[in-house]
């Protein structure tokens, strides 16, 4: 086998593997990514029932209800709109009313939301970035809000 043939073979198999990878990536991107939405997005974009999304915002004060068998319900708000969320399971340590939260799950009929996972940040200073952006869009976020002393960190979250 000549050098040229060998090189062609290597380039050919390289391209083949790349094409395979590209196919896998495109296939995976078409059905395994999850879009982030604020309550306002859900209402304005008329997101269809059953769509899997990430819903982010603040846990509305006074909305958290704990039921039997680890069921909880709360309301996620971005200031302008709100959506009731139900969840069964254990919420993160930093989940509490008035704090930023991201819930992943499906939109249910009547603009409610059933979450199968609930995420909160691991530090009291930080707001999930998507949440901060969503709140900013609603004019509910001021630079430096929600920070303790770590000004840089909170501003970072508010980017």
């Amino acid at each position: 086998m000549t050098r040229k043939q060998r090189r062609l073979l290597m380039i050919g198999s390289g391209l083949g593997v790349l094409a395979l990878a590209a196919g896998l990536v495109l296939n995976a991107l078409s059905d395994s990514i999850v879009f982030f939405n604020s309550p306002t997005d859900v209402i304005e974009k008329h997101i269809a029932t059953g769509t899997r999304i990430r819903l982010g915002g603040m846990v509305k004060d006074g909305s958290l209800v704990r039921g039997d068998d680890l069921r909880i319900s709360f309301t996620i708000t971005d200031g302008a709109n709100e959506i009731p969320v139900s969840y069964r399971g254990i919420v993160p340590d930093l989940f509490r009313e008035g704090q930023g939260v991201i819930a992943e799950g499906r939109v249910e009929p009547g603009r409610t939301f059933r979450a199968d996972s609930v995420l909160a940040k691991h530090d009291e200073n930080y707001m999930p970035r998507e949440v901060a952006d969503a709140l900013k869009k609603q004019g509910r976020w001021q630079e430096g809000e929600g920070k303790g002393h770590g000004g840089a960190a909170a501003a970072g979250a508010a980017r």
Partner: protein, 661 residues
């Protein structure tokens, strides 16, 4: 005063780095030996000053000097000493200082162990190393100075993020940085070789030990981080395909590919151009990893204290170093001479196969990690790319590597015999098939893919052993002589076997844990019991406890198996007063390689307590496999042909072709 000394030492290190970035390079161009030889001395001095600077910051932490803003924000006088020391790198500024400390350490190591290197190559490599150092010193001094003072020194610090108050922080970041930054050596040598326009087998022999050492640290660092997340976050997960995890996985994949292609280059002088590109890519991905974690562009379960205003600076560093090195590559790589020929079916061919799939797998991780950022920048649409994406892309690309892994070492250089290799693997393949059948028989057909995963893991492990057995010619000479022969094999052969075996062990753990873990989320009142995977857990009650800087509520669980008590588990909820923050401390019961995992949720109004109880079969194999891989790396590193500082023979006969094994 100590903080000012630290700050000043860092400025001096910057000055030395600037000198080292220019003078040796000029010396190498002019052929002036005196100028070239300034490089090792400045590299050592630079390390001394960075070490002094780092020591100063440690001293500020140990003495709880809250007039230093960084100490105030991340420490507390009541914290145990070990955490006071580890919180030095539990924040952005300190971790960047650790980054440059390790960078300078590697520079100093090249200066000390690289006495046998050609003068020009060493001068060039250390100069490139100094460019990197200069960029990061500037970054620290201009945007992330850890020595800033507060005008009014507070009485007490704000405490370290409680999640970081764990022994994991002592080990994980330094190991990870040793890995990240260790690839800078391969990068600097690649750049130096491109500047020199000369690249030979000896180059690969110098670069490989450094890459191997970095790879070992990174492997251990990733495994350690994974275990830490597993027990600290309380979700029982060990890999989330989180951007920050991906940021460490990408350099690992590129570094693994580099290790393998460097073998081809060392033994056969082939794949030169490719190896240099991989060396550049591995470090570039390390830089991108640093950028992703440190700049705040990502939201992640693991990032702590990030700030995008610094992102622009790191982005500039990225553009300069990645762009610059790739331009240098495009300009100079065509000068490099072509190496030896080989047939597609050969050891070289197998290693090319490995490289092809490793880099492609790395590319899919790259796409999955950065696509959300790109999409948001372009359309404003926010998406999350999670585990399903990576399961659909990474796994199909990794399976061929695993299937080919036992075959590669059995092929000979230049032209291999696939049929003969397959014949030698009959025993391994038979074992794998038995594994598949046995798993189906024992576990049923509910999880169809899992038995094949187990079969693949067994094939990889048995295949790794086959290589040793074949080399020792066990079948023809009998066990006694074969054992002696096996011990006499080059350590690098043992290294390969261990590393490949370790990957099989990890795979076995991954398959078992993901397929057969049991999870129960329950609300329990004192006295109630629940059972999971044959273990019965009785919730005895809650008791309060006080730690040095926290209060905790401990829940006692008595674990019984078949009626007999086997252990008492005490998961807890800790409340750290300084930050009024609560963390969950999981309790683990290890049974063989499997674990029972209990973590607590909230208390409910009716007096019951929420708890997550997992049984994770063979979960420890995931990390044990990584340890075996690192052991393989260590064996390979101790091979005398590769020993750092040993290439004396190589200088006597440059590019001496080693006898093919």
């Amino acid at each position: 005063m100590i903080a000012e000394i630290g700050h000043y030492a860092l400025v001096l290190a910057l000055a030395l780095a600037l000198f080292q970035a220019v003078v040796p390079l000029v010396g190498a161009r002019l052929g002036d030996l005196t100028l070239m030889q300034t490089a090792p001395a400045t590299a050592l001095a630079q390390f001394a000053f960075v070490a002094l600077s780092f020591a100063a910051l440690v001293a500020c932490y140990v003495t709880s000097d809250f007039s230093v803003a960084n100490v105030y924000e991340n420490s507390h006088s009541l914290m145990p000493l070990i955490y006071k020391m580890t919180s030095v790198w539990g924040n952005h500024e300190g971790s960047m200082l650790l980054w440059v400390l390790i960078l300078a350490l590697f520079g100093a190591a090249v200066a000390v162990f690289g006495r046998n290197l050609p003068d020009a190559l060493r001068a060039d490599a250390l100069a490139v190393q100094a460019w990197i150092a200069t960029a990061f010193y500037l970054f620290i001094l201009l945007t992330s100075n850890p020595f800033l003072r507060l005008a009014d020194a507070p009485f007490e610090g704000r405490d370290l993020n409680p999640i970081l108050q764990d022994i994991g922080l002592a080990v994980h970041p330094p190991l990870l940085y040793l890995g990240y930054v260790g690839f800078s050596i391969a990068f600097s040598f690649a750049a130096a070789a491109l500047i020199e326009g000369r690249l030979d087998a000896a180059w690969a022999r110098w670069v490989r030990p450094w890459t191997l050492a970095a790879w070992m640290a990174l492997t251990l660092g990733i495994a350690m981080g994974s275990y830490w997340a597993y027990y600290e976050l309380g979700w029982g997960g060990w890999w989330f395909w989180d951007p920050v995890e991906n940021a460490s996985l990408m350099p690992w994949l590129a570094g693994t590919a580099l290790l393998h292609s460097a073998v081809v280059m060392e033994k056969r002088e082939a794949l030169k151009v490719w190896t240099v590109l991989l060396a550049i890519l591995a470090f570039s991905l390390s830089l991108i990893g640093t950028f992703l974690v440190r700049s705040g562009v990502l939201t992640s379960v693991h990032t702590f204290a990030s700030d995008p205003s610094r992102g622009v600076f790191i982005l500039a560093i990225l553009v300069v170093f990645i762009g610059g090195s790739l331009m240098l590559y495009a300009w100079r790589a065509p000068l490099l001479k072509q190496g030896g020929l080989f047939a597609p079916i050969s050891r070289e061919g197998a290693l090319v196969f490995n490289n092809l799939f490793l880099t492609t797998a790395c590319a899919t991780v790259f796409v999955g990690t950065l696509y959300p950022l790109a999409l948001e920048a372009l359309t404003g649409e926010k998406i999350s790319v999670g585990a399903p994406f990576f399961n659909l892309t990474f796994i199909p690309l990794f399976v061929p590597i695993l299937m080919a892994m036992p075959i590669g070492p059995l092929l000979s250089w230049k032209r291999g015999d696939l049929y003969a290799a397959a014949q030698r693997l009959i025993a391994a393949a038979a074992l794998a098939l038995i594994g598949v059948a046995a798993t189906f028989a024992l576990m049923g057909v509910k999880a169809v893919l899992a038995p094949f995963g187990i079969g693949l893991a067994l094939f990889v492990m048995a295949g790794a052993l086959t290589d040793i057995v074949e080399r020792a010619a066990l079948r023809s000479v009998g066990p006694a002589i074969a054992a002696r022969r096996a011990l006499g094999l080059p350590r690098s052969a043992w290294g390969t076997a261990f590393a490949h075996f370790g990957l099989g062990v990890t795979l076995l753990g991954v398959v078992c844990e993901t397929t057969w873990n049991s999870e129960r989320i329950v609300a329990m009142k004192p006295g109630e019991a629940t059972s999971v995977a044959g273990y019965e857990l009785t919730f005895d009650g809650l008791l309060p406890r006080t730690g040095p800087n926290f209060r905790e509520v401990v829940a006692r669980f008595t674990v019984r198996q078949g009626g007999t008590p086997v252990a008492v588990l005490e998961p807890s909820k800790r409340t750290f007063s300084a930050r009024t923050m609560t963390t969950t401390e999981a309790a683990l019961l290890t049974r063989g390689a499997s674990q029972l995992y209990v973590s607590l949720g909230d208390s409910n109004p009716d007096g019951s307590l929420a708890a997550r109880i997992y049984y994770k079969p063979l979960v420890l194999l995931i990390w044990l496999g990584a340890v075996v891989m690192v052991l393989g790396g260590a064996l390979s590193l101790s091979d005398r042909r590769l020993r750092i500082g040993a290439p004396k023979r190589a200088r006597a006969v440059p590019a001496a072709p080693l006898p093919a094994e």
